[in-house]
Symmetry: D3
Subunit: 249 residues, 6 copies
């Protein structure tokens, strides 16, 4: 199957790292199509940035939707997810929602641990949107002194382990989600040091979109009653305009 890995950030190195992890997880069963935002921000951290990048994500998916079996919005916080799920006729998952649903299947309660307090608000919004607040112990954030997301993974590693342990001890977390694309792949490295199951969001998202894609016999996307009506538009990219003009795809 053909899966779009849509990084709504402009940082190609992040896309590459996540594509590697998704490809490993897919284990030959899916082709991962890496897409990096051509405009927008190096790394989204605010809801304002997510509003803009979420609209970009729709354009990115629309441009590559022909022949796609699924898409992953590869930014924790899921910019554009609700919109994309409404618009496209194949499964679209977000890294944060997919990680949370996965975590909820693994244990009673999960925590999100991230690399900077700058991310907290947006990630808390994601928990609320998922509906899983009663199964969440909230978000804990390390301090990224350098402010450099490219090195966040190494710089905050010890802090992240300490925060994960504290969340197990104090909050009773059964599952730890390492939130934020800069932490992609870290779960496997630190799992032995954390007394809980540790979820890597890009792996979880890949596993989930593949799970959804295998269910296809019951999924009759084109007849969904809640599919948006056809609508004219001005100023959108041609593929997105076309999809909205015909009423979802």
């Amino acid at each position: 199957m053909r899966l779009l890995l849509v990084n709504p950030n402009m940082t190609v190195a992040m896309t590459e790292r996540m594509t590697g992890l998704a490809t490993d997880l897919a284990d030959g069963r899916a082709q991962i199509v890496p897409l990096t935002a051509p405009r927008g921000f190096p790394y989204i951290a605010s809801r304002a940035e997510a509003q803009i990048a979420g609209a970009l994500a729709l354009e990115m998916i629309a441009e590559h939707s022909a022949g796609a079996d699924g898409a992953i919005i590869a930014a924790f916080g899921d910019p554009g997810l609700v919109a994309a799920r409404e618009l496209f006729d194949f499964p679209v998952v977000g890294m944060s929602e997919a990680a949370m649903m996965t975590a909820a299947l693994l244990g009673d309660r999960f925590s999100v641990i991230t690399f900077s307090p700058e991310m907290t608000r947006w990630y808390e919004d994601s928990i609320a949107t998922s509906g899983l607040q009663s199964r969440s112990c909230g978000v804990r954030a390390a301090q990224l002194s350098s402010g450099n997301v490219a090195t966040a993974r190494e710089e905050t590693r010890a802090q992240l382990i300490a925060l994960a342990r504290a969340s197990c001890e104090e909050d009773g977390a059964d599952v730890i989600i390492l939130g934020g694309a800069p932490l992609a792949g870290l779960a496997a490295e630190i799992a032995a040091e954390v007394p809980a199951l540790v979820v890597d969001p890009i792996s979880a998202a890949t596993a989930q979109v593949m799970a959804l894609a295998t269910l296809k016999s019951g999924l009759n996307y084109t007849e969904r009653r809640n599919r948006p009506c056809a609508k004219p538009s001005v100023g959108l990219s041609a593929p997105l305009r076309a999809i909205i003009a015909q009423g979802a795809i």
Copy 2:
């Protein structure tokens, strides 16, 4: 004071009607600056459209932010509201949130009545986002057979009155919100036929942004801890890029 009335839809007639109502409400105390989306959709109805139009709303506000004392996002559903509130250093209200907070000050429970089931999902999302679900009786929608929003107001008028009455009778609604820009101004016309207080969202939003603007002595926007950090960007309109580059404004 100078207030931006930001219609994220492309329909100028709607902007004009709402500007008239806002100007009446302001009663000489504010200048209303009407802004109509230069791109996007004639009338937003889906969350996908709101994702895109919300990003446009940020551009529209940014372009006119110099000298503004406040802004109204003049589409029920509030596209871009959370993002705009984060980004700009003056009060920004949305028509739906402002109408709901107003309704909650007027009575225990409110209903949203609208002209088409196509709007229901998006408006329900707005209720959830407001946090006022425990004070809401939900959304009821008329059937707009013509599909023409320009005539929705007249076409569904009798249905809207009947729905409002039913919500009072069956749901115990104390306050009725007439949701959707096409219904702007209808509240005053039908209030005598509805056994509840009836709220006109554009009037409520205007009253609220003026209320917020008068509080200014306690509102020190530029020192907000939750203001987004400065961030470079590519492909945004120049004013929005500038604002994001300096870290909110």
Copy 3:
């Protein structure tokens, strides 16, 4: 317009201070009618006291309801608010609910900061009654060692700033509400020292009741279905008895 400022406490100095702030906010657009409780308590702190003072507030409003365009229940905690809103045919707001709705329009999350732990429980009740729990970060209280509400403002000022800062830092509060009539007017003084927007409840309540009063074309109070039925009574003040006897006013 003519607005009743109903202080259900017996302390005239508080009424005067709040009247000054309300008059400033009204900026010539409204006449503020100051009313101080003739019986009851110097300063309400418990729910038992609020039960009694709330009944007094109804008498106070009833006595001055002729010609009134709105009323403010000028005690944080809103004694008698739900009852008054049911009974009178003009807008009645409470200082805490009005402050919270205002705060929710200014940012995602608000905290209430107050001068003594003795107030906490009652203020938490008010948050629950407002329905805005999901947008609240709770109540934090200073220690008023002197027990003297008249000097609470000066005595706890440094503590209040520290608590507000802690709530921004630890709870992510975007807006701080300074709860309790003894803190009236302090918001403007400390705003520069707090990294969030700071709301003064009496100013917010005045702004809100004026906002509601300007909406009047949709507000048909006398035809409300949820207006209480006419009812005989014994032992009430004559104006309140009359209003209840005719079924709201």
Copy 4:
């Protein structure tokens, strides 16, 4: 033990009927002291009336508190309950809260069935105050055409049975609470016609206050941290003034 049965309504016949039921339930183990409101309303139906009658209930309890082992606020809706529980150093229960806690011990979900839609809002408030919303199926009300509460029991009997059956069938109610003092004692009469357990609130309240009174070894009322501080007052009845002046009793 000596239990105050505090009817905050002025209707003596109601007090007498409830006293009979409470006495039967107590079965010689408690003396029921009947108290009828000397002022106020024949029958409370609104929150405005409850605000006033709740303050009266405090006076009534205060006057007879010497030697009391507990008190029942004998109006469904529990006027003054939170205040009384704070103020007095013995158990105070309300008819609605006691009925709901009892119902929640008898089955997963309960409904409240009452004799008139006029009561619905106030009873819904009581469910919310109890915290048991997730175990409630809401309130259903008969139509009392005569408007005469004295005959409500007989007049609406067939309707009440039909509503109870509908709630079992449609809402899955396990337990039916017959809400409202006019329905006191009806539960036993109609239980055979309702496919659920049926709770009589005055019996439940009597059983509950006796249950609480038997627990006394762990109940050290006078040392409660949340007991209100001593407070001067003006214009209260002498016994209530005295109790508030010394800080609870």
Copy 5:
């Protein structure tokens, strides 16, 4: 009346202690029938153990159901409660739910204090199941260094008092529940040292099942619509099989 005290743990000493407390509380009005699990675990601490012991509790009740007027599931955590309440035609209460409903009648908010963090998760589940989360301040646990539940009461006594005080101070708890059968009877001993009402769960459960049993005129168990249908089974104890075969009892 004849009440089954069902200890789903195998520890006879616990049953004896709880039987003594229940007998004291009943004060001659009920015969307490002590039942100790013949299989299972010395002391249940996990949800896995509760799944198994809850099934055992059904067998224990079934075997002694003839002539019973009520049953108490005498393990905090209430293994098998929902199932038993569905199956038997007399009141069945659990120690934790009965303690929580009792606490909610005594004050606004309660805390659960227990002897080991090992119990926390299961007790938190019980709070959620009760529906009283909005009236709960959560669970606080002492550290039982010895790991010996038989001596938990003495070993953790000072810690429990400190935790109870902290919960009053920091969480505003009005009522403290001492959770866990090993703490049975401790409430009366420590009440004087805790600034809140202290509830002993086995006493509360006994008081509650007696309260329910006295209501019987409205409780028509055999006609409950939600009673399970008759069902064949294999491998159950004969009395339980018989009860399930005839459709509840």
Copy 6:
């Protein structure tokens, strides 16, 4: 990988049908080990039956846990799921929770449609346990006149389609879950007649347990802090006793 398909009902035909569907879904990537309850009930419908069958499910998993990579509790309602997840050192999913998490990844809101009102209560419990109530539109049930679960699928087929359509139309459901083992496999057959995505729970559960099993690098089960302590027991099956004696496996 080796996956246990644990049918806690005694009906072999159901196990076989579900095994076929799981095998198809696995598409050669997993061996499905079918297990049918050797005791208990032909078909579980009540919470009492689930209490007993959940304990059986633990025995069934324990007996076959050697070499297992995951387990599916193959009864909608998930008897024993929380217990099993606590006890075993591999992923265990339940049909209802897995279907709901899957549905929540496919759309905003899901409904559960089932073949008999007898199942409703238990399935509603499952929604509450999942934490996804805010994304659920509840349960709708057909009437199975014959009472024969073996033919439920054919007998209620037309009703199920009508209920699914009604839930789309009236509740706004985006996803329909066909709840109950007797409906296994029906989703694919009726999807074309339902204007929503339709989820088959056994397929969803198989897809989910495979997704979880592929994540294994972050899942360090044996070091989980919330793993139950080692505990002696009496009367359990030997394999379950052994696992509990060593502290999870």
